[in-house]
């Protein structure tokens, strides 16, 4: 290294404990070089230093010229004196040069050094003091000028310019030593083998920069949130339902849930109907070898699907189980139409019907895709995920549902809830759940809940005393609120930015 300043700085400090000034000790070294040496020494605490900044005055090229050879007017005066008997004005430029002649003549007149005698210039004094030169020489030495008016004048005449100068006041550091030893960056196998690491000086690492980017795989943010919800359900004793079934019948998706056949949700505007295949079979027992369906246990009475179908028809058309029903002609064809499920509640219905074989307390949940034939916008997609929970038990109360929701939502950091009466064809009572969002400073609807209607449950063959809570929310909405995503298309679908997926932090619902 041609000018490694580290050792010269250590040398300069060795004389005494007093600080040194870089500009004094190393006047000719550019400050950047000083700085880099100080950084190296500072990182090992061998020196401490303070950056000083001051304004300095430097001569321009013209100023340097005047400091060396005198001002324009002094040159003019010298030429006039040298002519002995007056200098022809017209000859002046030839002797002192055009520039000097022009500026110098005027200034020499102004200072009373020369006078005009017809076409001749004559000296009007014997000797002069070239103040401009004196001042500039002073500036050259001190890089400063205390007389503000003179400084202003020189600046105007473009003889000096102002600049910032960095200087450093340097002290001995806590680990000051006379010598700066060359450092190694990395510990190597050879050093370990030879033991040389014991005597080797290591450069400390830079902790102000980021490390190398680590190649990493990642989960999709929605699946990360989904896993949090699954964990909450598992913590609370819930069994996951077989929602791997996108296509449903009108029966399972609507009729069995006591959704009347003229309900707006069943419109072509809202529900995707299937053109191929066209017609389903009526409800029937699962194929015995289907690996996804819950297995019936020994001793359970077989489920009567025809009776279920007839009950559903009856409760819609004429009323049953203490209900007056909707009283309209119920169409079997409508019930056998195929749809893309509009909610996973069709699966909850399927699971609750299974429960009729052996009515008992049960807790089920699912988080899976549902489909709505909606126009796509910032908050709506034709697909989204529904989170759904179901609790079946004897003696359930509405207060229990509220109490359960408080625990459930507290697990994701929502601690203030209130409940609004709402309408849902298959739950009564129905409650919309509002949570207080501290960030938004307002109540936000976070889910729907209720107790399934007796028309739905008793049609399945479940006993009257077995009551069932159901609640649901979308996976996307809480995710969007938590992570301030304003457009659902930035969260689900092929337009999601892969960089967003790869940089999205881990999800901790109770904390974030």
């Amino acid at each position: 290294m041609e000018t490694d300043l580290t050792n010269p700085i250590l040398d300069a400090l060795s004389a005494s404990d007093a600080p040194i000034l870089a500009s004094k000790a190393f006047p000719s070294i550019p400050s950047l070089k000083v700085k880099s040496a100080l950084d190296r020494l500072g990182s090992r605490q061998m020196v401490d230093w303070k950056a000083l900044e001051k304004e300095i005055v430097t001569l321009t090229k013209e100023g340097e010229e005047i400091a060396a050879n005198g001002s324009h007017e002094a040159k003019v005066f010298a030429a006039v004196v040298a002519a002995m008997d007056g200098l022809k004005i017209a000859d002046l430029p030839n002797i002192v040069g055009k520039d000097n002649a022009k500026v110098g003549q005027g200034n020499a007149f102004k200072r009373g050094w020369i006078k005009k005698d017809k076409d001749l210039l004559r000296a009007s004094t014997e000797s002069i003091v070239d103040e401009t030169q004196q001042i500039l020489i002073g500036v050259q030495k001190t890089k400063a000028l205390s007389d503000a008016k003179a400084l202003q004048d020189l600046k105007r005449r473009k003889l000096v310019s102002l600049a910032k100068e960095h200087d450093y006041e340097i002290f001995k550091g806590p680990k000051y030593a006379r010598e700066f030893v060359k450092e190694e960056t990395d510990l190597t196998p050879e050093m370990i083998a030879s033991g040389s690491w014991k005597t080797t000086a290591f450069k400390s690492k830079n902790f102000n920069a980021k490390g190398a980017i680590t190649p990493s795989g990642t989960f999709h943010p929605l699946n990360k949130v989904r896993q949090e919800f699954r964990n909450i359900f598992f913590e609370m004793g819930f069994e996951e339902m077989p929602t791997n079934r996108f296509v449903e019948t009108g029966f399972w998706n609507f009729d069995a849930l006591f959704v009347p056949q003229q309900h707006p949700a069943r419109d072509l505007q809202d529900t995707f109907y299937i053109s191929d295949p066209a017609v389903a079979d009526g409800p029937r027992a699962d194929a015995p070898n289907d690996p996804h369906c819950p297995k019936s246990k020994d001793g359970e009475k077989p489920l009567d699907y025809q009776e279920y179908w007839d009950n559903v028809r009856e409760v819609h058309e004429h009323g049953k189980f203490g209900s007056i029903g909707y009283r309209y002609p119920w169409s079997a064809d409508e019930s056998l139409r195929l749809v893309l499920r509009t909610h996973t509640t069709s699966i909850s219905t399927y699971m609750l019907h299974k429960l009729a074989a052996n009515p008992r307390p049960a807790r089920y949940f699912s988080i899976d895709r549902v489909f709505r034939n909606e126009a796509v916008d910032a908050t709506h997609l034709a697909e989204f995920h529904q989170i759904e929970g179901v609790i079946a038990d004897f003696g359930l109360t509405l207060g229990g549902l509220i109490g359960f929701m408080e625990v459930f939502f507290a697990k994701m950091g929502i601690h203030q809830l209130r409940f609004k009466p709402a309408y849902n064809p298959y739950t009564e009572p129905s409650m919309e759940i509002f949570g207080y969002h501290a960030g938004l400073g307002k109540w936000v609807e976070i889910g729907n809940s209720g107790m399934f209607r007796p028309e739905m449950l008793e049609s399945m063959g479940l006993p009257k005393g077995l009551r069932v809570y159901g609640w649901g929310l979308s996976l996307e909405r809480p995710t969007m609120i938590k992570y301030a995503v304003s457009n659902i298309r930035e969260l689900l679908g092929h337009k999601v930015d892969l960089n967003f997926i790869e940089s999205n932090p881990a999800v901790r619902l109770e904390k974030d």
């Binding site: 004793g237 296509v247 003229q262 191929d276 409800p283 209900s323 997609l381 309408y423 689900l492």
Partner: protein, 594 residues
């Protein structure tokens, strides 16, 4: 859910006090309606009176107009009780005589007369708006039920409800000047912004429903339009209401809503003049409207158990009064309450509805809270989801990024763009998508992965993405004629080297699923560990580049099956998906490992 706009000042006057937005919002919240907006609309540069926009539950038809909201809130607040609606006993009852031909198009009719109505601008507009809301909601855009209202003094009963050939029906429609027949009327209104959308309900029928008065004057052509002759105005005092329908239940609900909401403006408030429907051919002869309350019984124990309360029968009755019922403890049983369900409450079907109203009157947020006891349920994941998580975790740990494309896609994306042919027995097809983006349920995860790459060209290469999710296939052996299948797919997008990397991912996943690699030459690798093995065979598959693709075979329990394929995608596939670099992809069915 329907949204109703009401005049703020008028509503607060009805409620007897002013409310701040917060106070009114709170009242709505407790009652179960939702204050959407507290609005001061400017129409054509003019400041309109402040409006409240209120969202109404879809089954509360009695809240679809100003009159109903004001009444039900006043009852809820305990300021008034439900009015006693009465039918008058006219000396000669008005009649609608129904002809049998109406069974061919719109078989049911109902009617009522309101006498001595005093309209002002607001009431008149509300009267029109309620009909509109009922038409849109309960009546399913007039398909099921439609309402015609007439100035009774311009027509002469008895009326006839008939169905006739379009050409034989001649009249001047509402607010028109020229007479036209049914056919001409269809053409005339074809492009009409409001009415055009209702024409389809009867247009192709050989007969159209029509209501005549005794002088053969057309009153209306349901469900399209009334005649200009009998139109109502601000000055109308006697109103004849006729309602036609396909659905008898909704027909009577609509009639009850119309008369209960607007009988408060009749000269003797809350009285309604009935109309006799003469309909012998289908045994529908009767007097309408039926405004008698429905008598029902509710169990005290059921209500208390569901709500978690211990209210006395008398207390329950008091709560029910706030929700517009009349109720009293039964004289025969201590556990029974006799409930009169008013004609306004069409939503009450079962005692669970009555129970809910007790809870609302008590206040959902005041109910005693407890926690349902844990009845020994056992948490467990769905087996296929547990298996899925193993594959997801291993793939992500191997450095791949999980993506989540849509399940619906276009037919081309699923077939043609992958150089695949649709044999008609594979994919589930949608009947009514709004865009071509959603024509089929995917049968492969590849389209979603390729679209994700296409939309992420700003990302550095290589891109390594994967998905483990369901596809669906048509399956005529199933009740729902289809089945889902859990697939795993991964795609590598980069300048070179993808094939080996995807192959390596396959090997890794197989190893993690305890499935050993076997080839013809090398024989079994570690056969003692597992009875699950896999091997790969070169395949000729038009999705892939020739010679650069293989099928994945597993042998589990001695049984061989093909579970998927992998390879370098064919350049024409890349072109279809607008991709510039080679893609190596892998897709397999994970269900074999269940």
């Amino acid at each position: 859910m329907p949204t109703i706009s009401v005049d703020k000042a008028a509503l607060f006057k009805e409620l007897g006090r002013d409310y701040t937005t917060e106070e009114f919002d709170e009242l709505c919240f407790e009652f179960g309606i939702e204050l959407d907006e507290d609005d001061r609309p400017i129409v054509d540069g003019v400041q309109e009176p402040p409006q409240l926009k209120i969202e109404i539950p879809a089954n509360r038809y009695d809240l679809l107009c100003f009159e109903g909201i004001a009444l039900m809130l006043n009852i809820f607040l305990g300021r008034v009780s439900l009015p006693e609606y009465k039918l008058t006993k006219p000396a000669k009852m008005e009649q609608i005589i129904v002809k049998e031909d109406t069974t061919k198009i719109r078989p049911y009719v109902s009617g009522a007369i309101l006498r001595g109505v005093k309209f002002d601008q607001a009431r008149y507009e509300s009267f029109i708006a309620l009909q509109d809301k009922l038409h849109q909601n309960l009546a399913r855009a007039r398909t099921l039920v439609s309402i015609g209202t007439h100035d009774y003094d311009t027509v002469q009963g008895p009326f006839t409800y008939d169905a006739q050939a379009p050409k034989d029906i001649k009249f001047t429609p509402l607010n028109q000047t020229q007479e036209m027949n049914g056919e001409e009327l269809m053409n005339f209104y074809e492009k009409h912004q409001q009415l055009g959308k209702y024409l389809h309900i009867i247009r192709d029928s050989p007969v159209y429903p029509v209501i005549y008065d005794s002088k053969k004057t057309v009153c209306s052509l349901p469900p399209i339009i009334n005649s200009d002759h009998s139109k109502i105005s601000l000055n109308t005092t006697n109103i004849f209401i006729e309602i036609t329908a396909l659905d008898r239940t909704k027909l009577e609900i609509v009639n009850r809503m119309m008369v209960t909401m607007f009988s408060q403006y009749t000269s003797e408030p809350f009285t309604i003049e009935p109309v006799q429907i003469v309909s012998e051919h289908n045994n529908e002869t009767r007097v309408t409207p039926d405004i008698a309350p429905r008598i029902a019984q509710a169990e005290v124990s059921y209500i208390n158990q569901c709500c978690g309360l211990e209210l006395s029968p008398a207390e329950i009755c008091t709560k029910l009064t706030k929700m517009s019922y009349r109720a009293k403890p039964s004289s025969t049983s201590a556990d029974i309450i006799d409930v009169e369900i008013p004609p306004t409450r069409a939503d009450v079907l079962h005692q669970c509805d009555i129970m809910e109203d007790v809870a609302i009157a008590y206040g959902f947020n005041s109910l005693p809270r407890d926690f349902p006891q844990i009845s020994g349920t056992i948490a467990q994941p769905l087996p296929i989801n547990k298996l899925t998580d193993i594959v997801r975790v291993e793939t992500a740990m191997a450095g791949w990024s999980e993506v989540m494309p849509l399940i619906l896609c276009s037919h081309d994306e699923n077939f043609g763009w992958l150089n695949r042919k649709d044999d008609g027995n594979t994919a589930v097809k949608l009947a009514n998508p709004k865009t071509t983006e959603f024509q089929v349920v995917r049968t492969s995860l590849l389209p979603g992965l390729l679209k994700t790459i296409r939309e992420n060209k700003h990302h550095s290469v290589p891109m390594k993405i994967f998905e483990v999710s369901d596809v669906a296939f048509k399956d005529m052996s199933m009740e729902r004629k289809s089945r889902n299948e859990r697939h795993f797919a991964a795609a590598f997008y980069g300048k070179s080297g993808g094939f080996e990397i995807v192959h390596g991912l396959l090997d890794r996943i197989m190893a993690m699923l305890k499935t050993a690699f076997i080839t013809g030459e090398e024989g079994l690798e570690n056969p003692a560990v597992t009875d699950s093995q896999y091997y790969i065979k070169e395949t000729d598959d038009s999705t892939y580049f020739p010679g650069h693709a293989g099928t994945i075979h597993v042998r589990i329990g001695g049984k061989d099956q093909v579970i998927g394929s992998f390879g370098v995608l064919h350049p024409t596939v890349l072109e279809n998906y607008e991709l510039k670099y080679p893609v190596s992809a892998l897709e397999l069915n994970v269900e074999a490992f269940l």
